[in-house]
C-alpha cells in the first residue's frame, strides 16, 4: 500500500481549486449581488436569536436585490397587506402597451386580478396568510425573460416611507402561454414568470419551503455501496418494487411527491407516510434512512409522468455508475 502522504498527495492533485486557494472573491460582482439578495430575505424562524422585524426602510434594498434575481423572475418585494386598510390599487395602460401597476394596500386580490386581465396582463394573484405559502412547484419558470418585460417594484414617488410599490410591465413582451404568478404575503411578494399551466395555490405551512438539508434523514439507496445497490426502482410501479423489498426484509414508507403540471423537473414533498399506496403508483427513486438501516423510503406519485421528476429525465443521465 502506498503511504499516507502519497494518497493525500494524489488526492490533492485532483482538486479543481488548488488546496489553500480561495474559489471566488467576496468582492466580485456576482458575490456581492448574492449577498444582497440573501440579506433581503427574511431570516427563518429556526434561529435562536430574535427574528428581525420587517422594517419599511428595507424596501428599497429589497427592490434592488430583486434586480439581481430578475433573470429567473423572482422578485422579493415589500409588504402589501395592512390590517384595516381599504382596497387600493391602480393599474393603468399606456397606448404603447406598457402597464403600470401601483399597489398601496392589498385586500382585493380578485379585483386586482380582474383589472390585470382587462388590460391583457396574464397574471394569477394569490394572497397567503402569515406562516403559509403556496405549495411548490406550481409550474415551469421562464428562464429567458426578455429585457424590459417588467421592472423591479419600486417606491411610489413621494411616498417613500409608505407600504406601497409600483412596477412597470411591458405587455408586448409576453409570449403566448406565459403567466405572471404573484404570491403575496404580509412581508414578502414573489413574482415569477411561468410558461404553460400553473397549478392553483394550495396553502402549506411556510416552513415546508425551507430546504430539508438541516434534517436530512434519508439518502439515495440505489447507489453503489448502499442498501439497494444494483436494484433499480425508478419508473417501476409500487407493485413491481415491493416484493423485492419485502424479500430483503425492509420496512417501507412512502414520500408522496408533488409535481408541477408541466413536470419541469424537481418536486415538492407532500408528506411521508407508512400507509401503503396503490400497487399501480409509480416509484421514481428509493432512499434509505440514515438512522434505521432497515427502512426504505420510496419516492412516489399516483400517476406516471413522461419523465422522472427526481432527475428531470432518465436517472442514467444524472447518475453514472
Amino acid at each position: 500500500m502506498r503511504n499516507i502522504d502519497d494518497i493525500d498527495e494524489i488526492t490533492r492533485a485532483l482538486a479543481r481549486v488548488e488546496p489553500g486557494k480561495p474559489g471566488g472573491r467576496a468582492s466580485d460582482a456576482g458575490a456581492r449581488k448574492l449577498l444582497a439578495a440573501i440579506v433581503a430575505e427574511q431570516p427563518g424562524p429556526s434561529g435562536v436569536r430574535p427574528r428581525p422585524r420587517p422594517r419599511p426602510v428595507r424596501r428599497l434594498v429589497l427592490g434592488l436585490a430583486g434586480a439581481g434575481l430578475l433573470a429567473v423572475g423572482v422578485v422579493v418585494g415589500p409588504s402589501l397587506l395592512k390590517e384595516g386598510g381599504t382596497p387600493s390599487y391602480a393599474v393603468t395602460k399606456e397606448p404603447d402597451g406598457v402597464v403600470y401597476v401601483r399597489i398601496r394596500d392589498f385586500r382585493d386580490k380578485a379585483g386586482l386580478a380582474k383589472r390585470l386581465k382587462e388590460l391583457d396582463v396574464p397574471a394569477t394573484v394569490d394572497y397567503v396568510p402569515p406562516g403559509q405559502w403556496c405549495r411548490e412547484p406550481r409550474g415551469t419558470p421562464v428562464r429567458d425573460i426578455p429585457r424590459g418585460l417588467y421592472s423591479v417594484p419600486e417606491s411610489i414617488l413621494g411616498e417613500e416611507h409608505g407600504p406601497g410599490w409600483q412596477m412597470r410591465i411591458d405587455t408586448k413582451l409576453f409570449k403566448p402561454g406565459q403567466t405572471f404568478v404573484w404570491t403575496i404575503s404580509d412581508h414578502r411578494t414573489s413574482t415569477i414568470l411561468m410558461s404553460g399551466p400553473v397549478a392553483p395555490c394550495v396553502l402549506v405551512p411556510h416552513t415546508s419551503r425551507e430546504p430539508k438539508v438541516g434534517t436530512s434523514d434519508y439518502r439515495l439507496a440505489t447507489l453503489k455501496g448502499r442498501s439497494l445497490a444494483g436494484f433499480r426502482v425508478d419508473e417501476k410501479t409500487v407493485g413491481e418494487v415491493l416484493p423485492e423489498l419485502k424479500r430483503r426484509g425492509f420496512k417501507v414508507e412512502y414520500l408522496i411527491m408533488a409535481v408541477a403540471p408541466d413536470n419541469p423537473g424537481g418536486f415538492g414533498e407532500l408528506r411521508t407516510q407508512t400507509k401503503p399506496v396503490g400497487d399501480d403508483w409509480i416509484v421514481w427513486e428509493a432512499e434509505e434512512s440514515v438512522r434505521d438501516s432497515g427502512l426504505i423510503r420510496l419516492l412516489v406519485t399516483g400517476k406516471r409522468f413522461d419523465r422522472n421528476p427526481v432527475y428531470g429525465g432518465p436517472r442514467d443521465d444524472v447518475i453514472k455508475e
Partner: protein
C-alpha cells in the same frame, strides 16, 4: 437585532472564498457549484442563530454545504433563483480541468467511484486542509470514528489504484509544472 446582517456579512466575506472552493471542487458544473454556494449561504442567513462564532463557523458551513450537495440532485433542472449571478465567476474556476492528462483522468475516475464518505474524508484532509478534529465537527462523527474511517478510506483508495494498475511513481508526474504543487 440589527447586528444580524452585519454579522452575516462578516461571515460571508470571511468564508466566501473557501465555500466557493469547496463547491467547485465537488461539483461537475459551475452552475451546480453556484447553486450549492447560494443555498449554503441562504441557509446560513436563515439560521444565523445556530452559526457558531469564530473558527468553528467555517466547519458549520462545510457541514451545511455537504448536505446541500447531497440533496442537490433533487433540484437538478430547476435552477436556484439566487445563484444565477454566480455562474460566470464559477465558470472561471472550471477553465482548466484539474484532471487533464491520462493519468489524472484515470485517477479521478477511481476517486469518484469511492464511497461518498471515503471521498469526503480524503477531500476534507487534502483539499480543505482540515485536521481530524475539524472533520469530526463537519461530519458529526467522533474523532475516533474519523481516524478509523480515514484509515480505511486511504486503504480503499490505494487498493483501487493498485487494482486499476495506476502507478504513480513521483509527485512530479501528478502535478505538472503549471499545476498543483
Amino acid at each position: 437585532m440589527g447586528g444580524e446582517p452585519v454579522r452575516f456579512e462578516a461571515l460571508y466575506r470571511e468564508t466566501y472564498g473557501r465555500i466557493t472552493a469547496y463547491a467547485a471542487r465537488r461539483c461537475h458544473s459551475p452552475q451546480d457549484a453556484a447553486d450549492v454556494v447560494a443555498e449554503t449561504f441562504a441557509i446560513a442567513w436563515r439560521r444565523m442563530g445556530e452559526v457558531p462564532e469564530g473558527e468553528r463557523a467555517i466547519l458549520w458551513l462545510y457541514g451545511v454545504a455537504r448536505r446541500v450537495l447531497a440533496n442537490h440532485y433533487r433540484v437538478e433542472g430547476r435552477r436556484q433563483a439566487l445563484s444565477v449571478e454566480l455562474d460566470a465567476e464559477m465558470a472561471d474556476l472550471y477553465q482548466a480541468a484539474p484532471d487533464s492528462g491520462v493519468e489524472l483522468t484515470a485517477i479521478a475516475q477511481i476517486f469518484r467511484a469511492l464511497p461518498d464518505t471515503d471521498r469526503e474524508l480524503l477531500s476534507l484532509i487534502a483539499w480543505e486542509g482540515l485536521d481530524r478534529q475539524q472533520i469530526a465537527s463537519v461530519l458529526g462523527m467522533s474523532r475516533n470514528a474519523v481516524r478509523i474511517r480515514l484509515h480505511r478510506a486511504r486503504r480503499r483508495f490505494a487498493r483501487a489504484l493498485a487494482e486499476a494498475g495506476v502507478h504513480v511513481t513521483s509527485h512530479g508526474r501528478l502535478a505538472p509544472a503549471e499545476g498543483h504543487l
